[in-house]
């Protein structure tokens, strides 16, 4: 995860369309486009929004393969898990060309298709934001958009907490493996897992408190400060206006 996060910081520092925009403009732009994708009830509109996300990725020099691995595939699996049963449970005639014996209804297929395309589109837009903006600038932009400081601190600490949790989990796993001979019985394995999870959580909470104290010790008061302060320029306003216009059109056309 640390490697992935580092990679995100690297892609955020590359030259590209979205990397050149102010983080606040991106939050607003992505926010309204995600809203439009959530409200759209037309495949064509959702497809167009998905295409827009693809175009944004290409112009921001992001690799589509990376988007596929990090966004589309997990979204597909998630949607299949959550929406899959609707294919069979939604009443109605089957889609054209599919025998009734399969048990899939046209209405169910349409609902799952919508869900899938909507999730893929929203995930792509969100990933565009994350991959083209350094984490500190994302948080600073939130503060600048009047999101309460407590929320921003919680987000920042959650990010750091995840790293600590994974590092601790890795260490615990290695330590356990080095002291385990042979295979454990399923019951023993479950007990060990439960104990390890408890130890892991308490250890990580303790370490994350230490991280917070280390931040306070160096003057952190909850505000996110940047070496290059956020500054909205002409192109940022154009991007916000274009996103608002596109989202407006998508919501109108996708009613």
């Amino acid at each position: 995860m640390a490697e992935r996060s580092l990679h995100a910081e690297e892609t955020a520092r590359r030259g590209g369309l979205l990397q050149g925009l102010d983080a606040r403009a991106k939050w607003i732009g992505v926010g309204v486009l995600v809203l439009a994708a959530g409200l759209a009830r037309s495949f064509a509109v959702l497809g167009a929004l998905f295409g827009l996300a693809l175009l944004g990725a290409v112009l921001s020099r992001l690799r589509l393969r990376e988007l596929a691995v990090r966004a589309w595939l997990p979204a597909l699996l998630f949607t299949a898990l959550v929406g899959g049963p609707a294919l069979f449970l939604t009443p109605g005639p089957p889609p054209a060309g599919l025998p009734e014996a399969v048990g899939v209804s046209a209405a169910g297929a349409r609902a799952v298709g919508f869900l899938l395309l909507r999730v893929e589109t929203i995930t792509s837009f969100t990933l565009l934001l994350v991959l083209t903006t350094p984490w500190a600038r994302l948080l600073a932009a939130l503060r600048s958009l009047d999101v309460p400081g407590t929320v921003v601190v919680i987000l920042g600490m959650t990010y750091r907490f995840l790293f600590l949790l994974l590092a601790s989990a890795h260490d615990l796993f290695l330590a356990r493996r080095s002291r385990t001979v042979g295979r454990l019985a399923p019951r023993e394995a479950r007990q060990l897992l439960a104990r390890t999870t408890g130890v892991l959580l308490s250890r990580t909470v303790n370490t994350s408190q230490q991280v917070y104290l280390a931040m306070v010790s160096r003057g952190f008061t909850g505000e996110v400060r940047l070496l290059d302060p956020l500054a909205m320029q002409g192109r940022d306003w154009v991007a916000v206006a274009a996103s608002l216009a596109l989202a407006g059109v998508a919501i109108w056309a996708g009613r």
């Binding site: 910081e9 104290l213 010790s217 003057g219 008061t221 400060r225």
Partner: protein, 270 residues
Amino acid sequence: MNRPILELREVTYRYEEIVAIDACSLAIAAGSRVAVVGANGSGKSTLLMLLDALQHPSSGALYFDGRELTAGALLDERANYDFRRRVGFVFQNPEVQLFNPTVRDEIAFAPLQLGWPPERIRDEVEQMVDRMQLRQVVDRPTFRLSMGEKKRVAIASVLILDPEVILLDEPTAGLDPRSQSRVIDLLVAWRGSARTVVVATHDLGVIEEIADRCLVFHEGRLVADRTPAEILADLDLLTRAGLVHSHRHSHRSGLHHAHPHLHRHEHGES
């Protein structure tokens, strides 16, 4: 003795039921070098946390430069700025202190929090990178550094503020001899400066080099406050504090010990 820059008056600190610091009173003079020694769990780290106002006494009072430090007092932005600017704390575990994407971001963190102008921060970061010999790793993510490099980055991230008081918790713990020697050289170099240095350690081998005063803690209590030479000469005290242990063994030289003693083991000796 110079004016006290930090002072504890009858300070007790409890972690729930456990007393970590027990009715401790002491004054640390501005410009002094103090080693705080004690076995694991003796209260050294808690003392440093209290001195950096990261924890507040359960009872008693802590003073910085003559003013009482309370949680409420540090809510005042100016007071907090002044204190954080003047007192720096290097944690024992550098992992908890390094939370920025790169070494450069890490070193710039504290000045950014204190609102220094960006140009000044950039200049100071570059100078600190050279001073701490971190040029080769300056753009590297902190999790990819060796333990010695992490420690140096942690120290650099505090030193950049040029604090009057530096608190270091076990600065040489977990380091290889070369990295230890670099950190000790740094501490030795601070002798003669106006900076106040408080170092918590259980490495008795370095305290004469880095300190002119030594506090011994045992089970949360301050049990001795003398010069390092006097402390090192008092084997009974060191044994009681768990800093040396009594054991029986023989050396190749033919010497036999059956009492507490302070020495360095050479390779090949048991």
